[in-house]
Amino acid sequence: MKIRLMVMTLCLACISLAGCWDRTEINDLAIVTGLAFDRGKDDRLIQLTVQIFIPKSQKGDSTDGGSAGESPHTIVRYEEGYNAADALSKLQRTTSRKLFWGQCKVFIFSDAVATAGIREHFDFLVRHPQPRERAFMFVSKGKASEALRLLPPMERTSAEVLRELAKNKIGIGVTLEELSIMLKGESRSAVLPIIRILPPEKPADSLQTNPFILGTAVFKKDKMIGEISEKVTRGVMWIRNDIEEYTVTFRPDQHQGDVSLNPVKASVKLIPKIEGNKWKMTIKVRTEGDMIQNGTLSNPMNPDFLNQLEQAFAEDVQGRIQLALREVQQGLKADIFDFAQAFQGKYPRQWEQAKDRWEELFPKVEVRTDVKAYISRPGLTNSPGGVTEEEVSDS
């Protein structure tokens, strides 16, 4: 009995006397929603900007409606330092609450920082226990902190806008984990979406707008070597099999008017082949979509017309892929399609020998595209809408 009592008191003492619990109330936390990396005043320094959520701003929403919209939901703090950790510790000095990274889901590098190389910062993000692996990464055109300063009219924070956009897979969405895999992969190249700021509706309050994704930054190793336009990005997404919900619009030959398909589903296979000294790659695409707009005067239930449509669809996809190949394979010479992975998987021995020469080998890889496109459903109506039967052409 005595021993039991002693053990019990000891246990209780352990719990209550430790004093320095790591207990933190939510009231003592500054919830960081986004983090931006910018170049500092001189080359050695970087400037870190955090977007912090203000809990008070939510309070009034339900009770006194009108005035709540005025007060901003976030504030922005920034500080310079030798590296991210240093800047953050300085940042903590000016913030009354403990910076809390657990919910930070957006990291933005300015293009200047990205060109200089993100390895150092990237190491901080993967090493520090708090940032999430599932946070999304971006490159901003111009200063990265600008995007965090915005007070979007729709979402609570501009970081949330970016997160939602990346999540919807409209453009390329890359998480911290995916970036890590890309940078470590055989091809040593990566892509990140580029964000720009939507021009505000009323020029007076320039903050009442939100950032959006347009174009893609291409990385070789940890340095940004260039960017590709939105159109090329589409082609890249086809090859990378990132296409999820996506509208394709094309004009079939010999017809007036455009046809749009949505949602487009695609399966893409990369089939590598080494013949003697020649490295070849076949991109096999099988895609299908539903018609949502028919600008022509033909009936899609007509098999001839359907054939023409499917051919035109295939050509359109092929055109996009080839554009992407031209820009990226020949122009930037960065293997963001991960051909390297495909070769490594099928020809591990040859790959071991050629690995170091991959950079010069990659632009020379012969790429053949093989697109099979189908239109599976004509939508809710057969014949073109808004015209009489007589006007519908036969082919």
């Binding site: 719990i15 209550s16 619990w21 790591d22 207990r23 933190t24 109330e25 939510i26 009231n27 936390l29 919830i31 959520f53 809990p55 008070k56 701003s57 939510q58 309070k59 809390f100 657990g102 919910q103 889901k105 708090q130 999430r132 609570r156």
Partner: protein, 527 residues
């Protein structure tokens, strides 16, 4: 061994009470008169008068049998049926139809009553009197007669209020032991149903009945219960709760090791599964032992309403039991230690609602839980008319005003309310109390050590549950030996035609409860 050590534990306090009794100058009346009656009527009368001195409810009537033999009739007012005494005793005795009173055997023959008992000590005499039997003592005879004419005011059989249900019998046990035993006997008519009687309590002389079905119940358990009941020496037993506490295993555990029920059908279903029931005079609550943790999760209605309903509600009950035990502490732990676990948008709204709360989450939750317990307790004690007022005030004060005043955050109100209401999902009130009590240490652990603390607490609780034995039956019996056969009435309620065997540990003596191959027979019919 365990049982032995427990009995030893029980004995200790009992011994001390015994010696105290011996030191006292005045001895209890019931103990005093273990002596044979005198042949002289006057002596007997004096003795009984001294035993029942200052008892205004004792009625002593002297009269003459058949014209020449002196006799007295004694009974306690309100316990005996005075009209019948007049009709069946005084009329034949005084008017001489029952002879002249010299011959007791002849008297017995002439009196038209079903139950006539003889006694020859004062102790028996007192016992009969206090049970409401009128007694007759005749001059020159050292024996007395007691007549089965006891009759007192009692509550009618009513619907059990603590165990309500939609389908099933509406009768509940009452305060009268004999009514209760008759209710059981009416359901189980077999003579294998045994009812052994034991009297407990120095002053109350409370009668208890151990009921079991011979051939189903484990007789060692019956003997053990009998032994423990006999060991109890106490001044009075007012409710079966006394007995439960005095004879249970593990006296310090918060978990109930005996079931209490107000319903004859529940008691009978347990008897049929080989368990033992202890009925107590003066209370409608009947104890059932041995039980497992899962007995506390079953209600009679699981078995009456169809197995889909039974299975669904049972699973629901398990879920809500866990919610009730863990939700408040989980909330505290996540809020103070593991903010990363909360989805982003939820954290943001929680942060907003907690922004102006002056207390840490742990203090907040304890305030609310104590409030809730107080409201619950006040609601039980108050008269019905005021009860409604209390719940309205409680809901307003706690629910609305506290949130608006910025003392308590709105999510906390939801958490506490949900946790509190979930605890009432447990069909046995006692088990609900245990769960509600265990919430508090878990909350403290959650507030100091986070989820790790909750885990530690849970491990301790499970270890404790593993250790518990109810009259030799492990408390977690059905799941420590996970066979489908054992789980048929634990996690889900199997259809009746599949519940062919009794629970292994209580009904092992007579394994099958249904006809041979009944289950396969029912299948064949369908095909």
């Amino acid at each position: 061994m365990k049982l032995l050590s427990l009995i030893r534990f029980l004995r200790k306090p009992l011994k001390t009470t015994k010696t105290e009794h011996l030191d006292r100058p005045q001895q209890p009346a019931a103990k005093q008169s273990r002596q044979i009656m005198y042949s002289d009527l006057q002596q007997n009368l004096d003795k009984l008068r001294s035993i029942y001195s200052n008892c205004s409810d004792i009625i002593i009537r002297s009269f003459v049998i058949g014209g020449h033999t002196q006799a007295i009739m004694m009974y306690i007012e309100g316990l005996a049926d005075s009209e019948s005494i007049e009709e069946h005793l005084f009329v034949p005795l005084i008017e001489g139809e029952a002879g002249d009173g010299q011959d007791l055997a002849y008297l017995k023959k002439r009196i038209t009553l079903a139950q006539i008992m003889e006694f020859n000590t004062f102790e028996q005499c007192v016992e009969f009197l206090s049970n409401g039997y009128p007694i007759l003592i005749v001059d020159k005879i050292t024996q007395g007669l007691a007549f089965g004419l006891s009759k007192w005011e009692k509550r009618a059989i009513e619907e059990p209020s603590a165990e309500a249900g939609i389908r099933g019998p509406r009768e509940g046990f009452t305060e009268t032991l004999r009514v209760n035993t008759s209710q059981i006997r009416r359901i189980i008519k077999s003579p294998h149903l045994k009812m052994e009687s034991i009297t407990m309590g120095e002053y109350t002389q409370t009668r208890t009945v151990i009921a079991y079905i011979d051939g189903l119940a484990d007789l060692t358990v019956v003997d053990e219960i009998k032994k423990r009941l006999q060991e109890v020496q106490i001044d009075g037993i007012l409710e079966s709760g006394y007995i439960e506490e005095l004879i249970r295993d593990h006296p310090f555990s918060p978990f109930p090791l005996m079931l209490n029920t107000e319903r004859p059908d529940v008691a009978c279903s347990n008897l049929l599964e080989g368990r033992v029931a202890v009925l107590t005079e003066g209370t409608p609550f009947v104890l059932v032992a041995p039980i497992t943790l899962f007995s506390l999760m079953q209600t009679q209605e699981d078995y009456y309403q169809g197995y889909w309903y039974g299975t669904m509600t049972r699973l629901l009950r398990y879920c809500f039991t866990l919610i009730s035990l863990l939700l408040p502490s989980f909330y505290v732990a996540v809020l103070t230690f593991h903010q990363e676990m909360i989805p982003g948008s939820l954290l943001v709204s929680m942060a907003s609602s907690r922004e102006e709360i002056p207390f840490p989450a742990l203090v907040e939750v304890i305030i609310m839980e104590v409030f809730f317990e107080a409201l619950r307790e006040a609601g039980i004690r108050l008269p019905k008319q005021i009860g409604a007022a209390v719940s309205i005030v409680g809901a307003l004060v706690i629910g609305q005003a506290a949130v608006q005043a910025g003392l308590i955050s709105a999510p906390m109100v939801i958490v506490v309310a949900l946790g509190g209401i979930s605890s009432f999902m447990i069909p046995r009130y006692v088990a609900g109390i245990a769960i509600r009590m265990l919430r508090f240490p878990l909350m403290m652990l959650a507030g100091t050590l986070g989820l790790a603390g909750i885990m530690m607490g849970l491990i301790l609780i499970v270890l404790h549950l593993c250790k518990l034995r109810s009259f030799g039956v492990p408390y977690l019996a059905s799941i420590t030996n996970p066979q489908l056969k054992e789980l048929k009435d634990v996690l889900f309620r199997s259809p009746w035609w599949m519940m062919n065997t009794r629970p292994r540990l209580t009904g092992g003596y007579n394994k099958y409860r249904q006809g041979n191959r009944q289950m396969s027979a029912s299948w064949e019919e369908e095909e």
